[in-house]
């Protein structure tokens, strides 16, 4: 994987504290997380790790993942999931329902959902983030992929709270992107329209 950084809502780097490992599968795009790990490596680790699994694999596990899911969750300290923009709201709802049902305790404490945006103009991630928030998801929503710095302020307002940014895009002035259009609103409250403020 290339060199990536993770910034929080305030544009502060949280890269050093980041403990998440994405489990490598054939579908895993780069970057979902700054660190990744093969399943076999996970099984050989002494300590428990924070792992990120494919969302579709968890709500409808198939093949190897199905067999290993219990083992993985037993060896993980925290669980996160990643999804790309093709994941439907029904799938997101199934996931959140599964979290509530809590057959697997780790799901009950789902800490992180990484949304992977495959192209700059694919705006589904904005509605996916909003949908997760509407459904009451209070964990971290992280955006990765080909989003642009000029989308960061809008993504924040839609519910995203951390950002995976490649080294070459981490310029000194990126902080301004986090605070673009400070007077505009998040789209969800009528009383925030200028004439009603």
């Amino acid at each position: 994987m290339g060199n990536y950084h993770i910034l929080n809502e305030e544009a502060t780097s949280i890269t050093a504290e980041d403990s998440w490992y994405a489990i490598e599968t054939a579908e895993l795009p780069e970057p979902v997380s700054i660190k990744s790990l093969q399943l076999s490596e996970l099984l050989h680790k002494e300590e428990r790790l924070d792992v990120i699994l494919p969302l579709t694999g968890v709500i409808a596990p198939t093949g190897l993942l199905n067999e290993l899911l219990d083992i993985i969750t037993a060896r993980a300290s925290r669980m996160g999931l990643w999804a790309d923009t093709s994941v439907s709201t029904e799938q997101l709802d199934q996931l959140l329902q599964a979290c509530k049902d809590a057959e697997r305790p780790l799901l009950h404490n789902l800490d992180l959902i990484v949304l992977y945006q495959p192209s700059f103009v694919d705006g589904r991630s904005f509605s996916q983030a909003r949908h997760l928030r509407q459904q009451g998801f209070e964990g971290e929503i992280r955006i990765s992929g080909d989003f642009g710095r000029d989308q960061i302020a809008y993504l924040k307002r839609a519910g995203v709270n951390s950002f995976v940014i490649p080294d070459e895009k981490l310029t000194d002035d990126i902080v301004s992107a986090f605070h673009a259009l400070p007077s505009s609103y998040d789209g969800s409250v009528a009383s925030q329209l200028p004439m009603f403020r």
Binding site: F126, A153, S183, G187, P194
Partner: protein, 560 residues
């Protein structure tokens, strides 16, 4: 009209700075072209055939005189001294310089104007009836609702990267002067039996290469739910609309492919589950606030008899009488009229003036005339004309003389030469064929005003490609420019309408060569004048005639 609050002003000022930085980063090679493109589009900036084009937003078509003066000034200083009004009542500048666009936007922000979301795959300028507020039979003035929608959609963080562009129109009368049924969302203000205000919600209309008339998905949406319901529609579209093929990405394709019932179910589920009665719900107090920005003007109490007597005296002047009958409309207040300024001057000194074009001098003078005669406001229309909505009947004659000097009093509103015409191949990078040469040919061929009056109301719409910016599908006569091996040919359709009974026109037959367009129109019009019914001295309108006889007699007359 709506006056910016501190929040609005801060937002547009911040936007100017944001775009200035984006343009700087693009020119410095720091912002990739594929990211700058959607960003510049959302600031109204296209790259056209010869130069950039900047589309300035005119929310629901309403402009104040001080804004007109600024527009005049901008066209003088940053462009070639003219602008072009579009069917979405925006104003396009065809020759700005890319590096000066941020400065133009800063100038606009100084008079509460901008170019935000006039292009790109986002929610565009909301349009309405140009006679809003002056109609006697209006349920309610739709503009306060338009302003609420404008504020909701401006910088909406979730809906800035939709599958495709998104257009909303709102009307408050049974007559439709805003083509609402060929919009992504059309809203009709209604009053139910209990006296409550709400909207009929029509979704999935559109033109372009797949023309479709919108479907009603909610017959009466109580008005407090306006924003939460729009929010649900947009979220369903953003998540489900196709992104793999830009020609199938509009909401009309989604509604058509899943069926209006299934689409409605998704919207209702989203709405009922998440946002209905939530924080997007509007209150009566909110509506009163919105309405307070569109108060009735301080109309004079006019002595109707004296006013009418004075008018009658002037109506003896035939030229004035023609203009009065074609270019003025009724007003709900006695002694007042609405005045339509024709931006279809036709041939001036033998040269065709493109439909919707306006010079800096005309803009400046209209600002003065607006102050003098119409409470300092002017409006744009879907037909690319302008309106003074509140003129005293006794001022009409003086105003007409002023407008005549400005070439803005051509008495052709609603006639064949009141054409909607897109810029076509001369300016637009998308176009397949030229349009202005055809419009000029039509002007030269049909130069007898009495003949045009005899033909009565005919809407002719001409687009230079299938994207249909000039709405050729819904013209009584539609002309579509096509490219055949590098030559421009023109396909004619008949029987379309964007009014209350919206219809798509039927294609007459194979396209005709450039020089054959006007002669072909003449054959079509001869069928009408030869065969129309006449009751008393009222001939059957062209639109009704085409519906009655169908396309066949026209085919026979044109192709034999």
């Amino acid at each position: 009209m709506y006056k910016y609050t501190h929040a609005d002003q801060a937002m547009v000022d911040e936007r100017v700075e944001q775009f200035r930085d984006q343009t700087r980063r693009f020119l410095a090679g720091e912002l990739p072209e594929e990211q700058y493109l959607p960003l510049r589009l959302q600031n109204g900036l296209y790259i056209q055939r010869h130069a950039p084009m900047l589309r300035i937003a005119v929310p629901y078509g309403l402009i104040a005189s001080y804004q007109l003066r600024k527009l005049a000034d901008i066209t003088r200083r940053y462009d070639r001294g003219y602008g072009h009004f579009t069917t979405r009542t925006n104003l396009q500048l065809n020759w700005p310089k890319l590096e000066e666009v941020p400065d133009i936007l800063a100038e606009l922000a100084s008079v509460q104007m901008h170019a935000i979301q006039t292009s790109g795959n986002c929610i565009r300028n909301t349009t309405t009836d140009p006679y809003a507020g002056i109609n006697a039979n209006e349920v309610e003035d739709p503009r306060p609702y338009c302003e609420i929608i404008r504020q909701w959609s401006t910088f909406h963080p979730e809906f800035a990267f939709l599958p495709r562009k998104f257009k909303i129109a709102v009307i408050g009368t049974p007559e439709d002067r805003a083509a609402t049924q060929v919009h992504d969302i059309g809203l009709h203000v209604l009053k139910n039996e209990d006296g409550e205000i709400g909207f009929e919600v029509i979704v999935g209309g559109g033109l372009g290469r797949t023309p479709i008339i919108g479907k009603t998905i909610n017959k009466f949406l109580p008005r407090q739910h306006l924003l939460s319901y729009l929010d649900a529609i947009l979220r369903v579209y953003n998540l489900h609309g196709r992104r793999d093929n830009k020609f199938k990405a509009r909401i009309k394709i989604l509604v058509e492919s899943m069926g209006a019932r299934e689409f409605t179910k998704l919207v209702e589920k989203e709405w009922e589950t998440f946002t209905k009665d939530g924080p997007l719900t509007l209150t009566d107090e909110n509506f009163e606030t919105a309405k307070s920005y569109f108060p009735e003007f301080d109309y004079e109490n006019i002595d109707e008899l004296a006013s009418q007597t004075e008018l009658n005296k002037h109506l003896e002047d035939k030229a004035f009488a023609d203009w009065y009958s074609r270019n003025t409309v009724a007003h709900k207040v006695a002694g007042y009229r609405g005045v339509v300024m024709s931006l279809k001057a036709g041939l001036v000194d033998g040269k065709y003036v493109p439909a919707g074009d306006i010079t800096e001098h005309q803009l400046d003078r209209l600002a003065d005339l607006a102050d003098q005669y119409s409470f300092g406001e002017i409006r744009g229309t879907h037909q690319q004309n302008l309106v003074f909505a509140d003129v005293k009947q006794t001022d009409l004659y003086a105003l007409w003389k002023e407008l005549t000097e400005l070439n803005l009093a051509r008495p052709n509103i609603g006639t064949l030469t009141d054409m909607i015409v897109c810029p076509g191949f001369d300016l637009c990078a998308l176009a397949n064929a030229t349009t202005y040469n055809i419009a000029e040919q039509i002007e030269k061929h049909f130069d007898d005003l009495d003949y045009l009056y005899d033909l009565g109301d005919i809407q002719l719409n001409m687009s230079g490609c299938m994207n249909a910016c000039a709405h050729h599908h819904v013209g009584d006569i539609g002309i579509l420019g096509v490219d055949k091996k590098g030559e421009h040919w023109y396909q004619i359709s008949l029987g379309g309408s964007s009014k209350a009974e919206t219809r798509l026109g039927n294609i007459l037959g194979r396209s005709v060569a450039t020089e054959e367009v006007a002669p072909t129109l003449e054959k079509i019009l001869n069928v009408y004048t030869d065969q129309r019914h006449v009751e008393g001295d009222a001939p059957e309108p062209f639109a009704d005639f085409v519906q009655r006889v169908g396309i066949k007699p026209f085919k026979e007359a044109v192709y034999g």
